[in-house]
Amino acid sequence: MTTVELLWNGLAAFLTLCIFSFLYKDNPFYKFAEQLVAGVALGYWTMLLYHTTFTDKVLFPIFQQGKLHYILPTIMGIMMWTRFSKKLAYLSRIAIAFYIGVGTGVGLPLYMYNYVFRQLQATVVPLNVSWLGFNSLLMVVFIICTLIYFFFSKEHTGAFGGFSRVGIYTLMVGFGASFGLTVMGRVALLVQRIIFLREYFIALFGS
């Protein structure tokens, strides 16, 4: 590493240790890193959005491509600024309404397609007398039980309650499996940080 790199990496190593110190308890070093990164992240994000999205979606279409219909969204975006004034603040609701309206309108059929139909479709496989067929049957049963667990307007008693129990058991097995699978990736992330620190200290002091 050159001296400049050593300095930069020194900063990175210091900040890494600051964050790790939070594991012991909240302390001024952590607070320093936390406050610094909040400001840096906001500044970084603002300029990034300005140079990419703002240029691509506002400046470029209106001033270079002559797509004048992009003035409308810009006006609506500026309406958000009326929140600074008590009198005009209600205008910002028009922009919010549009934002939410488009989001829900686009979302509605997509949820039906991705979350409902595609999941059902993937489950429909022919059953037969084999280990594979048995597993497919179990899959259907577990899915139905899980859906029964999510019935809100019926008391979960009797046989219905039994299915609902199987449903919540299925969910718990699924959650347990996800939990167990995730450990490996998180440990790998930690090791990457440790290796970073080790390499920095080796570069600094020599091995």
């Binding site: 990496n9 990175a12 890494t16 610094l36 909040a38 400001g39 992240a41 906001l42 500044g43 603002t46 300029m47 990034l48 300005y50 140079h51 990419t52 240029t55 979606k57 506002v58 992009y70 969204p73 810009t74 500026i78 958000m80 600024w81 209600y90 609701r93 922009a95 919010i96 309404a97 549009f98 309206g101 488009v102 989001g103 829900t104 309108g105 686009v106 509605l108 997509l110 949820y111 979350y115 409902v116 999941q119 899959m139 577990f142 899915i143 039980c145 899980t146 859906l147 097995v173 699924g174 347990g176 167990g180 995730t182 450990v183 998180r186 440990v187 992330l189 930690l190 990457q192 940080r193």
Partner: protein, 206 residues
């Protein structure tokens, strides 16, 4: 009126974009892209609100709490230096001060916070995985079996591996699909409530 107009906008824009999904024509494609851009532009232009909120809070802290003054200053310094170094478009290229600050402040801090999860996952397992009930036992038992696959135990490992593969592809998959279907219906119901103006708490009132 002030309250009615936004509700009509939600109704109309919502219905337009639901219908759009079923129309493949290029007019409909145009509306979709325009709508998405429109939302994006609102999102970008709203950023000053966020910056104002951040600056007001940080400056007030600095003024009111002398003990916090140093930390508020650090935050404002970080914000200012990124804004200044990022002023020119060339700043986005590798090697600029803006990108160096990104690489040596933001990246390591983000990665380190992410890596804290390794510790938290261990302590969460210790606190939460107790066989208090059938449900808790299933949760901990499955996690236990799945984690056990990393440990070489000879023939037990082979059996365990087969069990893990089965858990992943049958009950785990079923749980995911059941959850997704439920979430889908809940989300669609929320969409309908929003579009029809039944759920309107988010809109505020005068």
């Amino acid at each position: 009126m002030r309250r009615q107009i936004p509700l009509y906008i939600v109704l109309v824009s919502g219905i337009v974009f639901v219908i759009q999904f079923f129309i493949p024509s290029h007019e409909s494609e145009f509306i979709f892209e325009y709508g998405q851009d429109w939302v994006m532009v609102i999102g970008i232009l709203a950023l000053p609100l966020g910056i104002w909120s951040y600056l007001r809070k940080t400056c007030l802290t600095a003024v009111k709490k002398p003990k916090e003054r140093f930390f508020a200053g650090v935050s404002l310094f970080g914000f200012a230096i990124m804004m200044l170094t990022g002023l020119r478009r060339e700043s986005l290229m590798a090697g600029s001060l803006y990108m160096d600050l990104f690489n040596y402040i933001l990246v390591p801090i983000q990665a380190t916070i992410f890596s804290l999860l390794a510790f938290y996952i261990a302590s969460a397992a210790y606190r939460a995985f107790r066989a208090r009930s059938v449900i808790a036992t299933l949760l901990l038992g499955t996690a236990f079996i799945v984690m056990l696959r990393l440990i070489p135990l000879g023939p037990i490992s082979d059996a365990n591996q087969a069990l893990v593969a089965w858990i992943l592809s049958v009950p785990n998959m079923a749980a995911k699909r059941g959850l997704l279907i439920g979430i889908g219906l809940g989300a669609i119901a929320t969409c309908i409530k929003i579009i029809l103006g039944i759920e309107r708490t988010y809109m505020g009132r005068d």
